[in-house]
Structure formats: structure tokens, C-alpha cells
């Protein structure tokens, strides 16, 4: 009985890990508008971590790094040639205009912090 219970619990834990970390990624999303969009850098996550923006429109992201560990010190938008160093406790604005629609990942230099910039076709 105990054997069965422990195995079921173990498998349930494994299933939970798969579900929680990989399948049920219901991440906070934000839409970039005309003003700066605040992104908090803390505890291994960007908040919000999914950002929607329009192609061809200037995008202003304001990162506020709270995490003191050096892992959080940079934000890199791979594929967009944009990067910035984030001072602790001081907002740092990153401004650029994403040209082509698509999904771009932004990460810390070690790719532990991860976020996604979804660039949608801009409307006239």
C-alpha cells in the first residue's frame, strides 16, 4: 500500500513539474503603448515577461532591476541587436523600433531570465 502511494505521489510530482514549468505557462502579458512599459527584473523572472508590440513603432521598455545578483545585470534581445546593462534599483530605459513582426526572446546573459517580445504587424 505504502509502495503504491509513494509511487503515485512521485509520479504526480513529476507530472506537476512538467505541467507547471512547461505546459501551463500562463505568463503575465503586457501590450506596449506610446509610453514606457515597466518591466521588473527580480527573482529570476521578468514581470511582465511577454510583451506585445507593433512592428515599425518605437518601443520604450523601462527595466527596473531589483535582483542584485550579477545574473540579472544585462538584458539581451537576441535577433534584434539590442542589449542593455541594468543598474540595481535604477530604471533603465531601452528604446528601439522592432522592424519585422515575429517572436523575439529577451534574456539575461545566462539565459536564465527569459521573456518574449511578440512583434505584431503594425497597422497604419
Amino acid at each position: 500500500m505504502t509502495t503504491l502511494l509513494v509511487n503515485i505521489l512521485g509520479l504526480a510530482a513529476a507530472a506537476f513539474i512538467v505541467w507547471w514549468f512547461w505546459l501551463s505557462k500562463n505568463l503575465p502579458e503586457a501590450k506596449a503603448g506610446a509610453g514606457a512599459l515597466d518591466i521588473i527584473v527580480d527573482g529570476g523572472v521578468y514581470q511582465p515577461s511577454v510583451i506585445r508590440a507593433a512592428a515599425g513603432k518605437p518601443l520604450r521598455l523601462r527595466f527596473l532591476r531589483k535582483d542584485k545578483s550579477p545574473c540579472a545585470e544585462k538584458v539581451i534581445f537576441s535577433g534584434l541587436d539590442v542589449s542593455a546593462e541594468l543598474p540595481v534599483g535604477q530604471p533603465r530605459e531601452v528604446e528601439f523600433t522592432p522592424k519585422s513582426p515575429g517572436e523575439y526572446e529577451f534574456t539575461c546573459q545566462m539565459a536564465m531570465y527569459r521573456g518574449k517580445l511578440i512583434v505584431e504587424p503594425g497597422r497604419e
Binding site: 512521485g10 527580480d42 527573482g43 523572472v45 527596473l64 535582483d67 543598474p87 535604477q90 545566462m110 539565459a111
Partner: protein, 742 residues
């Protein structure tokens, strides 16, 4: 207290000349909507404004009040960052020491049996105290892991914090449970893991402190560049020389530089001459002679004379600021080789969590007694030994050091991909003029034909070249000036791309250009052919002059080789690279220059827009091609190559145009860049291999795969030590690059 959306901006208020202005500016800034506080400093003419407001709004508000403001950016960000890091390091070190001492104490009391057994009240009390002490170590030394783990968990994410928090948390919670309910786990009451939890935290803190210290060294190159920024300039205003903060220098200011001083901004010398040490930017050890009309670059050092120069570029526009920006950007970029690690990092921690769960189950189902002990020891070891940091750091830390190292040698690498590609090149294509040669051609032969005089030839040629910026045109104009021929006035000027120029003089069509221009326009070359052959054989570029359809003369122009071109070509060949010269010159001239430089292969008579086609052909033949050119005329060819190298003379090079910019005019820069690239990529591979191998071997060992064969199990404390050392090792390995000599 500042809220998340508030920002602090620093403004420079230029024309604030009296203390009364301070009030006006302060009031103006404070009245802007969103501003929470504004402080104006008269001494350094700055304003510090905090609030939910954009810097542009502040600048225009100050402008409305009649002052000129500019936003101060990042001047001190590096020193701020440095002091922040130093503080963080001191804090971590303190936590390491205190946790270490307490952990050592917990080890002693746990392992030596000096505490009474758990089945007595005194025992339970003593072990309860140990539990609390351990909890203190977990919170004080490792609180950030628990906080981070919780936060990332809430966001469906997991990182190193998660592993450390679960590993040590489980060890502590289980042991505390045993202390509280000694009967609940049967015979196992004796197995407690307080020392394990405490030691792991202390070790990981130690690893973190060591890593942080080592990381500080990886950014030395950029710190050195930032350190070159001068703080003041001696500006001549109203006839008097005054020292002003660098931020107040504007283009057009005349600046005095005395011997031994740093040149504050970019500009052009107007009076005086000197030797200038530009080695900090170009890597060129010999000081450059500078006189009136020559460009000087901010951050370089005036050696001997005193001179005045007119500022042309200030602030973020200076070459130094652009170099810093480029190096910083490149240090942040990742070569393709590192992207696999990024993908793995993304799924790494949840995979380790799964591995830990399956380890528990495997020991539960198949392990010997005491099963619970084995389950705990192995699962904790799996969680603790896994090191996502080593994997994540492997590439960026080497790129950081490699790009910095290159910058020290005057080699600016645009991004990680350029860095990686440079090491894979199989062929180097060199442009001739300005790349192999000095790019300062001089007329060395004038041969009048058909009854004209030397002066006729030069003055007519000078008239045709008067408006041109072609290097050969400059040589002709210079020669005409020396030999006394005033440029003749021509009309209907027309440039024939890649061939020369055409115009009308004295009612006749005049042509100046290469052989093809003559042939295309029906000029009979006659004896000109023989003269062409003869001049070309000595490496001269020959320009024909024709008037009214008849050949009027030849001008031979030589462009001396750079002193070290031959040696650099030899070095590139020794590195196993195919070296090819590409030039618009005729075959004979090209052959002579190639021979002199030791280049076996050359492509001559290529029109400017045909250069990129030649690159494409080489690439189609399977070569990985690096193209070296001046970055302006060769821009399409540089862009078409796998790696485009822009070679500069001094610092006037167009640093935005190429994958790799060589600040020093020497071709040795190409070899240096390739060697640094090779060393960096090798370093990244070592790091990646180390990190992958470490994780793929250590995790199964920690899970106990060796146990059935050898009876070996990994103590979680050893796992903690291994993990603490692994990322330190990666950073230390990257730091080895700092000693690399190309």
C-alpha cells in the same frame, strides 16, 4: 521612497550663470507634471530630477524658461556599477564567513556525538537548537535562494535558486521533523542533515563570492576604455584659456592641449604640432606625428608639443564614446555556438527537478535499507550538484573577455557572430589601396607625349581632377601644385565610374583615366602601350591623358606599401590562410605590388561594384572569406564577405560599417583578430564542454548510478562544493584569455 515607475534623470543646464538662475530652473523643473523632486546644483551646473517624467519633457521645460539643458547619460554608470558590485561582494563575503563559521560549528556538534541522543528531552532540546541555528544559516546565508525560488515558481519558472532552496530546505525540514517526532521515521532518528544544509549554503555563498571577484576582472577592458574619458578641457573663450567640465565643450570650441595631457574631445589641430600616443585606442605603439589640419581623438595622449585644436565631435559622438558603445554591445552579444547552451538552460532546472523525483522513486523501489536515507541523500545531491550557472556563463563570459582583449589590440569586433566567424576564415581578400599600401599615392612619373610638356599634362590633369576626392586625384593635384601647373578650367565634366573622368577643354574632349577609358573612346595608344607596360612593372598605377582623341601623356602614380604589410601577409599565410589581393589596377601593376608583398594570388582590373561579385565567387567555391578594405569605398564587398574588416589609418575609420574594425592601419590587425577569435572560441568550447560534461556526469553520479557497482554515493556536501566551484572554474577559465597574446 522612489516607486517603480519613477526615474531619476540628470540634466546639464548650460547657461546657468548666476545663483538666481538656480531658483528659476528649480521652480521650472518642480512644476513639470510628474516631477517629485528636483535639485539644481550650481557648482557643476546639473539638475537631478526624480519623478514619472521623460527627460525630453524636462529639457523642453527648461528650454521654455530660457535655458539650454541636455540629458547626462551614463557618465558615471560604470563607476556606480563598480561600487555596487564591490558592496555586493563585501556583503556576500560577510554572509559567507558568518555562515561558514556557523556551519563549521554545526558540523562539529553533529558529527562528534557531543550532543545527547534524540530519545532524551535534553537531546531533543539540543537538536532543536541546532535546527534553529541551521535555519538562521539558511535565512541569513541563503535567504535569497528561497526568495528567488518562490518568485520564479510563481511565474512558472525555475532556476538555480530553486535547486538550492529545495535541496537545503528538504534537508532542514526532514531533520527538523525527525527532531520533533523522533518515532515517526523508525530507526532513522540518528540521521539528521543539519550540517549538510548549512555547509551547502556556506559553500555556495563562497562560490558566489569567488565568482563575483573573478567576474570583476572580465570587464577590465571596458573599464580601461571608460577610464580614458577625460573629465575637463582647457577651452579658449574670449581670448582666455579656462578649464571647463568635458560636458560643456561644444563643437567649434578651440581647445588647448599641453604636453602630457589627454586630448579631451575629437577635433582638428589648428595651431601647433606634437606627437600623439594613440596606442590606447589603436594598439599602435608608435606615437603619431600631428600638425595643423590633422585629426586628433579624445582620450589619446599628447606627448611632446602644445597645440590648439577645434573640437568637431563631443559627448556621445566622439570616437572613444562610439568605441565604448560598440565594445559594450559586442560583449553582450552571443555567437551561434552559445545558443545551444541557451536552449538547454531553458529546460535545465525543471529537468533536474524531474531527475530528483525519479531518483527518489528509484531508490524507494529498488534501493537497499535504510531506503529513506538513500532517497534523501541522492535526491538532495542531484539537486545541489546540478549547475545551470556554469552552462549559462560558459559563452557570455568568454565573449566578454575575448571582445575586451581584441579592443586592447585595436580590434573592434561588432558581435559574437563576427567573433566566431573570424576564426573559421579560409581566405583573406585584401584591397590594395589603403589596405596593403599606405593609401597616400604620389606622382612619381610624368611622361608627356605628342609634343606636350610635363606642365601641360599636370595642369590639364589637375583641372580634370579638381573636384574629385579619389586618392589618385589628390596625388595629381599635389604634383601640379609642386610643379607649378595651375589647374586648367574644364567644362562638361563627367565621371566614368571605375575608369576615369571626361570633360571639355578648349573645345576639345579631354579624357583622364585608365587604358579602358582610352580604348572605349577610340584613342590610339601607340607608344603609350610600351610606356604603360614599363611603368606598371614597377608597381605604378598609370593614368592616361588624352586630348581631342590623341594621347597627350601618362602619369605614373606610386602608392608605397605600408611598412609591415609584407610581414603581415607572411603571417596570414603561415596561419594557413589563402591571401588574395583585389584591385582596380591593371594586371601588371597589381602583379608588381602582389610580388612585392608576397601575395601569390591577385584579381586585377575589378571595378568598384565588381568587388562584391568576386567575393561571391570565392564563397561559391567553398571559401569562407574575410574581406579587408577601408570600409567606405569597399562597403558592399565588406558586407558581402563572411567577415568584413574595415582597416583604419588612425581612428578616422568608419567603425560602424564592418564586422571587425581595425583601429590600427596595419594588416597585423587581421591576424590578431583571427587569433583572438580562435582563442575565444576555443575558450567557449572548453567552457561549454566542461559545463555540459560536468552536468551530464555529475547528476547521474549524484543519483547513485555507481552505487550498484562500487557502492559509491556522493555526499551532498561534496555536491555542494562541486557546484560552488563549477561556475567559478568557468569564469577563471575565461579570465585566462586576458593573458592571451595574439
Amino acid at each position: 521612497m522612489k516607486t517603480a515607475s519613477e526615474t531619476t534623470h540628470r540634466l546639464h543646464i548650460k547657461d546657468m550663470s548666476c545663483a538666481g538662475c538656480v531658483d528659476t530652473v528649480q521652480r521650472t523643473l518642480s512644476s513639470v507634471s510628474g516631477v517629485k523632486s528636483a535639485e539644481v546644483n550650481f557648482a557643476d551646473k546639473t539638475a537631478t530630477v526624480t519623478g514619472e517624467v521623460s527627460p525630453d519633457t524636462l529639457v523642453s521645460a527648461v528650454g521654455g524658461a530660457g535655458y539650454t539643458a541636455s540629458v547626462l547619460k551614463g557618465e558615471d554608470s560604470e563607476s556606480e556599477k563598480e561600487s555596487e558590485e564591490a558592496e555586493l561582494y563585501r556583503d556576500l563575503l560577510k554572509r559567507t564567513i558568518i555562515s561558514g563559521v556557523l556551519a563549521a560549528f554545526i558540523v562539529v556538534v553533529s558529527m562528534t556525538g557531543i550532543l545527547p541522543a534524540l530519545d532524551t528531552a535534553a537531546g531533543r532540546l539540543s537538536w532543536g537548537a541546532v535546527s534553529l541555528l541551521t535555519l538562521f544559516v539558511l535565512i541569513y546565508g541563503g535567504g535569497r535562494f528561497f526568495k528567488g525560488a518562490l518568485k520564479s515558481f510563481r511565474n512558472h519558472s525555475a532556476n538555480m535558486d530553486t535547486l538550492v532552496a529545495i535541496g537545503t530546505g528538504v534537508a532542514w525540514a526532514y531533520s527538523t521533523f525527525v527532531v520533533l517526532f523522533p518515532g515517526a521515521v523508525g530507526d532513522l532518528a540518528g540521521h539528521l542533515y543539519f550540517e549538510t544544509a548549512a555547509i551547502i549554503i556556506a559553500l555556495i555563498d563562497l562560490g558566489g563570492a569567488l565568482e563575483m571577484r573573478a567576474r570583476g576582472k572580465t570587464s577590465e577592458a571596458i573599464k580601461r576604455l571608460i577610464g580614458l574619458k577625460p573629465r575637463t578641457a582647457r577651452v579658449v573663450r574670449g581670448g582666455a584659456e579656462t578649464d571647463v567640465p568635458i560636458s560643456e565643450v561644444v563643437p567649434g570650441d578651440v581647445v588647448r592641449v599641453r604636453p602630457g595631457e589627454k586630448i579631451p574631445v575629437d577635433g582638428v589641430i589648428t595651431d601647433g604640432s606634437s606627437q600623439v600616443d594613440e596606442s590606447m585606442l589603436t594598439g599602435e605603439p608608435m606615437p603619431a606625428e600631428k600638425g595643423a589640419g590633422d585629426e586628433v581623438v579624445g582620450g589619446t595622449i599628447n606627448k611632446s608639443g602644445s597645440f590648439l585644436f577645434r573640437a568637431t565631435r563631443v559627448g556621445e559622438e566622439t570616437a572613444l564614446a562610439r568605441i565604448i558603445e560598440m565594445v559594450r554591445k559586442a560583449q553582450n552579444s552571443k555567437p551561434a555556438i552559445g545558443r545551444l547552451a541557451d536552449r538547454v538552460s531553458g529546460i535545465f532546472v525543471p529537468s533536474v527537478l524531474l531527475a530528483a523525483v525519479f531518483t527518489l522513486l528509484a531508490w524507494f523501489n529498488f534501493g537497499p535499507e535504510p531506503r529513506l536515507t538513500y532517497m534523501l541523500v541522492t535526491a538532495i545531491a542531484v539537486l545541489i550538484i546540478a549547475c545551470p550557472c556554469a552552462l549559462g556563463l560558459a559563452t557570455p563570459i568568454s565573449v566578454m573577455v575575448g571582445v575586451g582583449k581584441a579592443a586592447e589590440h585595436g580590434v573592434l569586433i561588432r558581435n559574437g557572430d563576427a567573433l566566431q566567424q573570424a576564426g573559421r576564415l579560409t581566405a583573406i581578400v585584401l584591397d590594395k589601396t589603403g589596405t596593403i599600401t599606405q593609401g597616400r599615392p604620389v606622382v612619381t612619373a610624368v611622361e608627356p607625349l605628342g609634343g606636350t610638356s610635363e606642365e601641360d599634362v599636370l595642369s590639364l590633369a589637375a583641372g580634370l581632377e579638381a573636384g574629385s576626392e579619389h586618392p589618385l586625384a589628390e596625388a595629381v593635384l599635389e604634383a601640379a601644385k609642386i610643379k607649378g601647373g595651375a589647374p586648367r578650367e574644364v567644362t562638361s565634366f563627367e565621371a566614368v565610374s571605375g575608369h576615369g573622368v571626361k570633360a571639355v577643354y578648349d573645345g576639345k574632349t579631354v579624357l583622364l583615366g585608365n587604358r579602358k577609358l582610352m580604348v572605349d573612346n577610340g584613342v590610339t595608344l601607340g607608344e603609350g602601350e610600351a610606356r604603360l607596360e614599363e611603368l606598371s612593372r614597377t608597381g605604378k598605377t598609370v593614368v592616361f591623358l588624352a586630348s581631342g582623341g590623341a594621347l597627350a601623356g601618362l602619369i605614373g602614380i606610386s602608392d608605397p606599401l605600408k611598412p609591415d604589410s609584407k610581414e603581415a601577409v607572411e603571417r596570414l599565410k603561415k596561419m594557413g590562410l589563402k591571401v588574395i589581393m583585389l584591385t582596380g589596377d591593371n594586371r601588371v601593376t597589381a602583379g608588381a605590388v602582389a610580388k612585392e608583398t608576397g601575395i601569390d594570388e591577385f584579381i586585377a582590373e575589378v571595378l568598384p561594384d565588381g568587388k562584391s561579385d568576386e567575393i561571391s565567387k570565392l564563397r561559391a567555391n567553398g571559401e569562407i572569406v574575410g574581406m579587408v578594405g577601408d570600409g567606405i569605398n569597399d562597403a558592399p564587398a565588406l558586407a558581402g564577405a563572411d567577415v568584413g574588416f574595415a582597416i583604419g589609418s588612425g581612428t578616422d575609420v568608419a567603425i560602424e560599417s564592418a564586422d571587425i574594425t581595425l583601429m590600427r592601419g596595419s594588416l597585423h590587425g587581421v591576424a590578431d583578430a583571427i587569433k583572438i577569435s580562435n582563442a575565444t572560441v576555443r575558450n567557449i568550447k572548453e567552457n561549454l564542454f566542461g559545463a555540459f560534461a560536468y552536468n551530464t556526469l555529475a547528476i547521474p553520479v549524484a543519483a547513485g548510478v555507481l552505487f550498484p557497482f562500487t557502492g559509491m554515493l556522493l555526499d551532498p556536501i561534496i555536491a555542494g562544493a562541486a557546484m560552488a566551484l563549477s561556475s567559478f572554474t568557468v569564469v577563471t577559465n575565461a579570465n585566462r584569455l586576458r593573458w592571451f597574446k595574439p
